[in-house]
């Protein structure tokens, strides 16, 4: 049932990626590619950290689906930046949610028990850092930028050119919006996520290759 629901979504993701590569994107063209890479890495990292990849096939499959999910999110964000309309934003949000669901489905196939909760918890804690870590930033002002960077929402904010920390909700529930912080550039985010993703990939590959090699030698 779940697969039958998600399969069309994944096809849409692939179509979206193809469209992103073929169609000229006016304003956000400069950020669509790095956004794709960054979001793919972002979505992939928890999977690499939490999932138990026992075979190279599973690893490849994970990478492919995560890339598609990231591409889908990037395309959605790009569209929202371009048009800025409520409908576009709603579609963008829906696509991102569906991309997340696709990742969830992937984890369901490969992950050991409990991985979903760990994945969700890590993502939730990182996203809500501006709320729970703001008191620390108020004690040590230079931490403000670090806290802002910790949240994946900041990446989306940068890509959409939206100072979300000063929207009504965040301003009313976090002191961070009243502190001096600067969002890093989209490029810096991409580099950070790419480096983090590469490091985690290396660890995952080493874990996967190690036991297999030992078996083959026997």
């Amino acid at each position: 049932m779940l697969r039958s629901l998600l399969a069309p979504t994944l096809v849409l993701c692939a179509a979206g990626l193809a469209a992103a590569l073929v169609l000229p994107l006016p304003q956000p063209a400069a950020v669509s590619l790095p956004a794709t890479i960054a979001l793919a890495a972002l979505l992939l990292m928890p999977a690499v950290v939490c999932a138990d990849f026992s075979t190279l096939d599973a690893l490849r499959q994970s990478a492919a689906w995560s890339f598609l999910a990231g591409a889908c999110a990037a395309l959605a964000v790009g569209a929202a930046v371009r048009d800025g309309g409520i409908i576009t934003a709603a579609v963008a949000t829906a696509l991102v949610v569906l991309a997340g669901a696709a990742l969830w489905w992937l984890l369901e196939r490969n992950a050991p028990p409990g991985v979903h909760w760990r994945f969700t918890t890590v993502l939730f804690l990182a996203s809500s850092a501006p709320l729970w870590a703001a008191p620390l930033a108020e004690l040590h002002a230079p931490l403000a930028t670090l806290v802002a960077c910790a949240s994946p929402l900041s990446l989306l904010g940068v890509l959409m050119d939206h100072d979300y920390l000063r929207t009504a909700f965040f301003y009313q529930h976090s002191a961070l919006g009243a502190l001096s912080y600067r969002y890093p550039s989209a490029g810096a985010f991409v580099v950070a996520y790419a480096v983090g993703g590469a490091a985690l990939w290396t660890i995952a590959l080493m874990k996967t290759m190690g036991p297999r090699n030992v078996t083959e030698n026997r």
């Binding site: 108020e138 002002a141 939206h162 100072d163 000063r166 009504a168 301003y171 009313q172 009243a178 001096s180």
Partner: protein, 364 residues
């Protein structure tokens, strides 16, 4: 004939003295001369500190907003600095001009575009140089474009209507509003421009005065809060910095001093008169923002003294000068050691704010 005139002059002298004292701000708003001299020396020390901190590109903290405020502090000081005084004035102006964007905003970042553009207008206008008129006009258009109205899908009934926010979202607040209105006032925007009337609607909706504020949360102490229905210090309570910002906003928008909204705001200020803290705020938060807004609003209101809730009369100039002198560091700077909120951990910003406040104190 001459003798008659001399006698008449002598006879009318007391009357003339009273009339002059009433009519001349220089006399009516006097302060202790010794304290005034010390305040001027404090301004000099603050400006000396800023000059030592200026970056190679002419900026302070690599920020358009802080650079504009520091430049304004120089240009409006008792020294009467202007662009002919040298690179320490021309370089920050050049830095501001290098951040003029196609949409008219003057900002190095998409954050704080309203604040940055507004204070840049103040600084460029303070030069008195007509070469910047076109840039100022474009910046003014950018600011008025930020105002929330039907163009953004908000009708008059909405609490946000007429407000101006940071410029990166659609959430307005009184702080951004007052800074923007100060800049628009500096640009001599037509008093009949609808921007003012719309702005007044938002300002009125941040005042705790239920007779004029149609919001259900509105109290009745006459003070102002941060935005409709929210204060960062809890609930919807009035506090000092926003009440001075609200009073200034009303005056900038052309509201008469006798208007009940102005009188209510002034009433809150007198009832809560203190410079020890930002009254109504937590933990000395926003203290120097308060001093800055206090100086500007008291100057604009035009009374030399304030009678507090206990009937004690205060010379606000002397009180503010004494407080800022006591808080100035040896090197000439100021900083809020107790709270970094609203950037008050930044010495460049807080020093610029303090010097501007003292400029109003010693101005005649």
């Amino acid at each position: 004939m001459m003798r008659y005139l001399a006698r008449l002059t002598i006879a009318l002298a007391p009357v003339l003295a009273v009339v002059m004292a009433w009519a001349s701000p220089a006399i009516a708003q006097s302060m202790d001369e010794g304290l005034q001299s010390r305040a001027k020396r404090a301004v000099d020390a603050g400006l000396h500190y800023l000059r030592g901190e200026q970056a190679e590109n002419g900026s302070w903290s690599d920020s358009v907003g802080i650079t504009a405020l520091a430049t304004r502090a120089y240009l409006q000081s008792h020294r009467g600095y202007n662009e002919s005084d040298g690179a320490f004035i021309t370089r920050p102006i050049a830095f501001l001009l290098s951040h003029v964007n196609d949409d008219g905003s003057i900002s190095e970042t998409n954050q704080n575009r309203n604040y940055n553009t507004a204070v840049a207008i103040n600084a460029l206008k303070a030069t008195g140089n007509p070469e910047y008129d076109e840039i100022i006009a474009n910046a003014r258009q950018f600011l008025t474009g930020l105002q929330i109205d039907q163009g953004e899908g908000y009708e008059e009934e909405h609490a946000y209507y007429g407000g101006i926010g940071y410029g990166g979202d659609e959430r307005p607040d009184l702080s951004n509003q007052y800074i923007a209105l100060e800049a628009l006032r500096d640009t001599d925007l037509d008093p009949d421009d609808p921007v003012w009337e719309k702005a007044l609607q938002f300002v009125t909706r941040t005042q705790n005065r239920s007779e004029s504020n149609d919001q259900s949360w509105a109290g009745n102490d006459g003070g102002f809060t941060y935005m409709p229905g929210f204060s960062p210090h809890g609930g919807t309570g009035s506090y000092g910095s926003m009440t001075h910002a609200g009073l200034l906003s009303l005056l900038f928008a052309g509201v008469d001093r006798d208007d009940p909204r102005v009188q209510a705001a002034h009433g809150w200020i007198t009832q809560n008169y203190t410079l020890e803290e930002n009254p109504g705020a937590k933990h000395k938060q926003g203290l120097f923002y308060y001093y800055n807004a206090f100086a500007k609003s008291m100057y604009a209101f035009g009374e030399a003294t304030v009678t507090d809730g206990e009937g004690v009369k205060h010379n606000w100039r002397e009180d503010l000068a004494a407080m800022l002198l006591s808080r100035q560091e040896q090197e000439g700077s100021w900083v809020n050691e107790e709270s970094p909120r609203w950037w008050e951990g930044n010495r460049h910003l807080v020093t610029a704010w303090s010097v501007i406040a003292l400029n109003y104190v010693v101005r005649e």
